[in-house]
């Protein structure tokens, strides 16, 4: 379930975040990274698309990225639902279930990571073949992107609904 609410009363009286996956900051972090990757790909592609033709050497990358993203999102949504229904486990854990990307996310983290790695490595590969300066620049962007989750998640945690925070406690 992507809703952070259990009842209509809780939803209609909510004071705070009401958006989907508001109780799953990890997933929101992944979404932000994926959307940033799409944006970066657009900037990259805008140099190579001319007169109705693309000079990109591997146009299948984007399709693979979308497929990997969709799979990871669907799996995250399913996992989120399972976690919500398994209250006993979440009560015993006694802590927020936010984990670093790639460490505790399981299959969905792996898939999302794979999607990002594919996109990143392909972009690096393409630029690397053309210009060492471009490659270095994209490498630094990629390194910055990989640091985003650890910086972003603490802030996202504080934006959860009170109800969602209560549930996690």
């Amino acid at each position: 379930m992507s809703s952070p609410f259990n009842s209509f009363k809780e939803f209609s009286e909510a004071e705070g975040a009401i958006y989907t996956f508001a109780n799953n900051p990890t997933l929101i972090g992944i979404l932000i990274i994926l959307s940033a990757l799409v944006f970066l790909y657009f900037i990259y592609a805008s140099f190579s698309i001319k007169k109705g033709q693309s000079t990109a050497k591997n146009p299948g990358v984007l399709g693979l990225l979308i497929a990997a993203s969709a799979f990871s999102l669907a799996e995250s949504a399913y996992t989120s639902y399972i976690e919500q229904t398994d209250k006993t486990v979440s009560q015993k854990s006694g802590s927020a279930q936010v984990t670093r990307l790639g460490q505790g996310l399981g299959p969905q983290g792996l898939m999302a990571g794979m999607g990002m790695t594919i996109a990143g490595s392909t972009i690096r590969g393409r630029r690397g073949r053309r210009s060492p300066y471009g490659s270095r620049t994209l490498n630094s962007v990629w390194s910055s992107l990989r640091r985003i989750p650890s910086r972003l998640f603490p802030r996202l945690r504080s934006r959860q609904t009170p109800a969602a925070q209560r549930r996690k406690r």
Partner: protein, 472 residues
């Protein structure tokens, strides 16, 4: 300020909000007018624009005579009750009692639609819904350009804008609708009840209407019929974007006495979410179509609209990052759908099936994946993929494709659907309206006449003697 004045201020704010949102929605029609006019060839530009303009008349009047009543009378029919009207005993149940003022306020003879100090709101809501209805019919208008009879389009626009989309709204976009109360259907920004209905209605009509002369070669391969004024088309879509902000803002409910903003399903939402998510959907949609179509200008700007439609259904609930991904995906696939439709022998002049049918269907279904489990009232099922799938089926097939195909098939059998071959070749500006859109320019008729007639007689030989050139 006295309590009475404060109370009236609340009424006035609500009244003004919907009034001005609806006025801005008229920009959608200004945009469609420019969009379709630019997409047509120069010999059809005026007829195309006049056809679109007449949508305001046909749907506006149909919505007054019966459309508004359909919206208020159909929510329970056929699953949870019957059609509501003067024959209904409204005291039979609490639900009927709650619906009574809405139904009685929707008759053409109702005081609520006439000037009355007892009701400031109903007429403004009628105005907003009438603009929704006109938008729905305008989507159909562009796809049929350059070969449909104006009378046939008027009938089709009344069926679509005055009835079928209104039934979809009554069932899935009304607090009493059975798609909501029995299946938890959620469609905040009308991906299904407006865009999917009109997109699939258009598909049904296009199958019977057939392609424009010259669209396909002898082997059945599609040939491009280029817009005569692509810049005008792009400006039109920019106007449509502006109008869509108002369209989505008018989907928000704020009534006198409310302490917060809600959706039409009485769930909480914010106006800010419309501002942020519409803007991001527009941006991501442009990107998706730009990459997918490899910078085709027509598809790229249509992608902005496709992006918005792809997230409209769940815009009140989606996180902005999710909006970007969904809008991008919907718009990325859109050009592929449009090209597939073209390869199937269906001549959709403006890509309405790709933008509205595909993105509307996609947007409706995505709520069932990315906004599941939301409660929308006590005893109402949670939002789910099953509920969205059923709603999508109702919107696309039951209220979209079948009525579109059926109505156009009937018109075709009566020989009322399509203009004659001679009229189509001559151009509908001259055939329908008797004037050319660009009388002083070197249009095809001007050039043709110049080649076969002495230059000095061109002015007398051109249609209606309207060319202003004197050549040596």
């Amino acid at each position: 300020m006295t309590p009475e004045a404060q109370e009236f201020l609340g009424t006035f704010v609500s009244e003004s909000y919907y009034f001005y949102a609806s006025v801005f929605m008229l920009l959608i029609h200004a945009g469609f007018l420019a969009y379709e006019g630019g997409a047509s060839r120069s010999k059809n530009v005026l007829a195309t624009m006049v056809k679109n303009l007449l949508t305001l008349a046909s749907v506006g009047l149909a919505f007054y005579f019966f459309g508004w009543w359909v919206y208020n009378a159909f929510p329970l029919f056929p699953l949870t009750g019957g059609l509501l009207g003067p024959w209904t005993n409204f005291s039979a149940s609490e639900t009927l009692t709650a619906m009574q003022p809405y139904v009685e306020g929707s008759y053409p003879w109702s005081d609520a639609l006439a000037p009355t100090t007892a009701d400031h709101i109903t007429g403004v809501f009628w105005f907003a819904f009438a603009l929704f209805a006109m938008t729905t019919a305008s989507i159909l208008s562009g796809a049929l350009i350059e070969r449909v009879k104006i009378g046939a389009y008027m009938v089709l626009s009344v069926v679509l804008g005055g009835f079928t989309w209104v039934v979809a709204a009554a069932w899935g976009w009304n607090a009493f609708g059975w798609l909501l109360s029995n299946f938890g259907y959620h469609d905040f920004g009308c991906s299904g009840v407006v865009h999917a209905v009109s997109g699939f209605f258009t598909l049904g009509v296009l199958i019977n209407l057939g392609p424009r002369i010259g669209k396909y070669d002898a082997e059945g391969k599609p040939r491009p019929i280029l817009p005569h004024n692509l810049p005008l088309t792009m400006v039109g879509l920019m106007l449509i974007f502006v109008g869509f902000y108002a369209f989505l803002a008018a989907c928000l409910v704020f009534l006198p006495g409310y302490t917060g903003e809600t959706t039409i399903y009485n769930t909480p939402m914010t106006l800010a979410s419309i501002g942020v998510n519409t803007t991001l959907a527009l941006a991501a949609g442009l990107i998706g179509a730009y990459i997918s179509s490899k910078a085709d200008p027509f598809f790229t700007i249509s992608g902005g609209l496709g992006g918005i439609i792809s997230v409209s259904a769940g815009m009140d609930l989606y996180h902005p990052a999710l909006v970007i991904l969904l809008a991008f995906t919907g718009a990325f696939v859109m050009p592929k759908v449009a090209i597939l439709v073209e390869k199937m022998g269906i001549d959709d002049a403006v890509g309405a099936v790709g933008v509205h049918a595909w993105c509307g269907l996609f947007g409706t279904l995505m709520v069932g994946i990315f906004a599941t489990g939301y409660p929308q009232g006590e005893g109402v099922p949670l939002t789910s993929f099953g509920g969205q799938l059923l709603g999508a089926f109702v919107c696309t097939i039951i209220l979209g494709f079948i009525p579109g195909y059926g109505t156009s098939w009937t018109l075709k059998k009566l020989n009322l659907l399509r203009v004659s071959r001679e009229e189509e070749i001559e151009g509908l500006d001259v055939a329908d309206l008797g004037v050319e859109g660009y009388p002083e320019y070197a249009t095809m008729s001007f050039v043709t006449n110049q080649q076969v007639q002495p230059a000095a007689t061109v002015d007398q030989q051109s249609p209606k003697g309207s060319t202003g050139f004197v050549t040596e």
